[in-house]
Assembly symmetry: D2
């Protein structure tokens, strides 16, 4: 058994980590920290977890939580990971951070987040935790930067095409749609039921902070700088991200070739499924699960590749991917604790 | 490993059985039947199951499906269970039926369902599968009538009070609210998104078929005939039932006594949790799980007991409860395959 | 043209007043006040109103707003109406208050709201504005206490039966279900999309503040003190209240008599429609409109009357009813500005 | 008063026409036809309309319905408009058809709808009823082809840019999201609440029938053939379409210029509102109303114009636009009967 602690256990990604880790056969939860609910039992704050760790008392003693564990998950808002990360690494612990704080080069972070990168000294050791692309690096990492929810969906959809140079690198447009849980649990006007229900809208057009994260990884895959259009939308559902992606095809590339490249790219990856051409993913098919479903077609009329990727933003887009990375780091089977299928309907 | 077959595997309760049974450590699925999708792969019809039994080809050969299994789940519409049940029992198999066909005495069935009971000869051997009340009987049964979704919530809420004679038996009012999945997967006007979304309404007032099922079991618990008011409502959500229940208290009964009776009644039951007075269950806390959460209060102003029970209608109200009964029948731990916690948010 | 001002114009009931009043043929809006958005244009804060009063600049000058109008609508949180009401009345204006501050006798308010009634000196002149019951009083009032959303639905459903002594006055149970907009626009955890979506739950069981309001009016109708059970529930929809109501019938009362009493009671009331027995109201049928739909049945098995009332909580349950009262006060046709039909689907 | 009939009055667009026309000051409804509900009263089938035309008996006598009216609205499924259109035109009536039957050249229709155009002989007289572009033509038309819901949103967003040659005509990508009411009222698996709730998915990628309609009109505006990528998505809401659109900018075009072009293009159009750069439309802001809201930005990093258009698919995308066209034809104010503001929240 490996002992883990979660720093920031009562946000949405925190409780999703709890849900997944309590099903993990080789994990023991050492401590759960919470600023808002310290001193209260988990089952009282989140009755859906009562049957597992319901009696666990939440703590605000981050140091003790780190000390008692071999692996530390950081599930805190952006900008707050530096201190606990440094603390844990100094104590020889291995860290999976779910925030954006270690995903970007310092200058890029500063440019898009309007503040200095929180812990530039640690950036060197941070490995970008998209397991399907960088599994071996993740396995050896001491500090994993767990990818953002939108980048996870966009990168899994685009990676095979970009690496195989199937598409015109300057033509990529990512139109993404997310459920409301991506906004977190802080009461905010735009997250109210009455504001978000029965309607949808774009936000952060051409300015969203996941843009440079996507571009950095695509540039790495392409071996050349990539700039993309990225538009997120808020959709009236709790979970789920769908990214619909458009890219101009390099001359002569056909659907059969694209399909083959994708099937091969993901043939050994347990959590990515390439659907047959003409089948398009529903986000509900991955509700509560760690899977990513990919649909694709080649539109001959426009000579564009159209891709769609569906994930559960709280699982593959956050906590499930964190557990997947943890499994790689700890030498466990990649899918341990992540076998749950989508809840449908 | 025990081999099981599901007759009617592609309705909502059927696929929920598949989801749960594929996580069961001691179960092997022998066959899945479907009238609508025979010949197609399960993963094609239901991509959320692709990672588990996705390659399984659906069959319409009920006889072979029964022959290959030791236990048979019947997940078909009401009125169609007689034939496969008789077939399975004659072949020495044990049967869990999710329809209403074996839940009521013949005359009661005929009176409320406007047709003769499908298999009167088998009614004698049918055990009503509310595991919390009739566990030992279920363990020895060859044919289990899995309870209806509404009755499950109402009976778990009322059983302690009725058995302990805390309430006036003639005063019981059950106001129940259900998600739309209770209506099944048949395309019908009232189940359309645009008809059910953003509104709610009562239906089947004073005439719903789950009324006699509730009354029969309450009468058994009370040892005297019980008549109740039961009103179901359709609520704009996919899963979940909440039953809010009102009953006049026998003289002098107070909240402390009621609370104690409930805690004791369910102290050994893994799937029923009595919440502390003043905490009221949300159906979302049991989304996707087999738990039933109970809230209660004694209203001194009106001298009434108010109860609320929350379940996931497709899990504890159908397929999860069926697996729970199967576990008792097969001698497995009661919670095997049912450890999944609620998905929240 | 009559000039009106809205004090508190940017909460949900405030903007619904704006929507309705801009369609009123004899109303001119004098001023809209807002604490949060003073100085901004209405159309910027609420783009759905841009085409009507979009250029109106919100003000926080309550005195000027009152001075410029003949009628003043108060659409503020409970406990804040006293001052503007006193101001307006002293200036000879007529007031329609949408809060609870003038609905209850002082002691009752204090007992249920845990604070002293805000303006005891004004309570004498306050008329309870349920137009269908107290139309003539409303017409002559200087200060109208606009009813609560839950009480509106419960009282319209119960009034004919209680006044005609059809039911046992001690047996009334009101199980009510509301959309989330009843919680207002203040960001609060329980009003978040992810907390309220895809689930429902009771709240305020046996303690909700609308209980004494319902009881006070039923007592007035019955001529004797009435105590009821009232349980509100939060349902995943934006608008709508459905109250399902149970009451024991006095000996020998049948469905025909009940139906006749209801039809007669509401025959001249433009906004209440009694549905034929067996038809049950959907809240979506009144979405955005000022109508109240009533369904009823007599359950012979239990000798109970079952009633269901559907309203849009923001229209008939708040702002629409306020306009209806205003029409009576100003001598306009009762339905002026309220002709909009429900939006379906 | 002008007499109008609706052929196919009980589908979703049919009842929305009824809702709007009953508020029209100069319209009298002559007859409402329905195949499914002939002989029943409208108020029985659709209680939300009970207060207006509730007593109107639905008929299946199309000939009489046409004969009794001066204007005829056809609100039937695609492929069924030919006969009633021919009938009405022969009798000297003026026709507004809400189906696709008169929107496309015959060969294009045949190529995309997999059947011959229903009434090639009438195509000549058909005017494409996008009032903001072709108002004068509509005013003189005898047969108006009311635009599709997706094309309405896409064309209103793109028309100013295309006509002013601001964008590279080969680079247009339209990513559209629709509520479920676009699928109509026929019970179908994909329209079930449990299938559509809490998830979203693309459909008809690169093959949707609204593609040629969009292309035909853009080609007309550009004066040269235009081919676009168009991807529709089904979103868990009843009403609303949001089209997010990407196009490469011609050299040197900046946000100020684009914004000015859009403001000027729509300055006299009552139903299109161009939002200030940085404000993005929510579909809920137009819920139930005939407005189209446009948001736009110039993304300097990618040199693309990003547009977003929000409409209510049943109003501006269907029945409201039909009434707008009718107003132009009959010489009424363009907004008569369409003054209703969006219902928010």
């Amino acid at each position: 058994m490996v002992r883990v602690s979660i720093i920031g256990a009562t946000g949405y990604t925190g409780v999703e980590l709890v849900r997944l880790l309590t099903r993990h056969p080789q994990v023991e939860v050492a401590a759960l920290t919470s600023q808002s609910y310290a001193g209260r039992r988990l089952g009282e704050v989140y009755p859906h977890l009562a049957a597992a760790l319901g009696e666990t008392v939440l703590t605000d003693d981050v140091e003790a939580a780190v000390a008692g564990a071999g692996y530390v998950f950081l599930a805190m808002p952006h900008g707050q990971a530096a201190e606990p990360a440094a603390l844990a690494l100094a104590a020889g612990k291995r860290v999976i951070d779910l925030s954006a704080d270690f995903r970007l080069p310092g200058e890029t972070y500063a440019a898009w987040y309007a503040q200095a990168a929180p812990a530039p000294a640690l950036l060197d050791q941070a490995v970008y935790g998209l397991a399907e692309l960088y599994g071996p690096e993740v396995a050896g990492a001491r500090l994993v930067a767990n990818p953002g929810c939108y980048p996870t969906s966009a990168l899994l959809a685009l990676a095979p095409a970009v690496r195989a140079s199937l598409v015109d690198i300057g033509s990529i447009i990512i139109d993404a749609k997310s459920g409301v849980s991506g906004s977190g649990r802080q009461p905010a006007l735009g997250s109210l039921f009455c504001e978000a229900d029965e309607g949808l809208h774009p936000y952060g057009v051409a300015t969203h902070r996941h843009t440079p994260e996507i571009e950095a990884q695509l540039s790495r895959l392409a071996g050349t700088p990539v700039v993309v259009s990225f538009t997120p939308h808020l959709v009236p559902m709790t979970r789920g991200i769908l990214s619909t992606i458009y890219a101009g095809l390099r001359g002569g590339v056909g659907e059969e070739e694209v399909s083959r490249v994708y099937m091969e790219f993901y043939q050994d990856k347990p959590f990515v499924r390439v659907l047959p051409p003409g089948t398009w993913p529903h986000t509900k098919w991955v509700y509560g699960s760690n899977y990513c479903l990919l649909g694709l077609t080649v539109d001959r009329r426009t000579n564009r590749l159209v891709l769609a990727a569906a994930i559960d933003n709280l699982v593959k887009g956050a906590s499930g991917q964190a557990v997947q990375n943890f499994n790689l780091m700890a030498g466990f089977p990649e899918a341990a604790g992540l076998e749950g299928l989508g809840i449908f309907p």
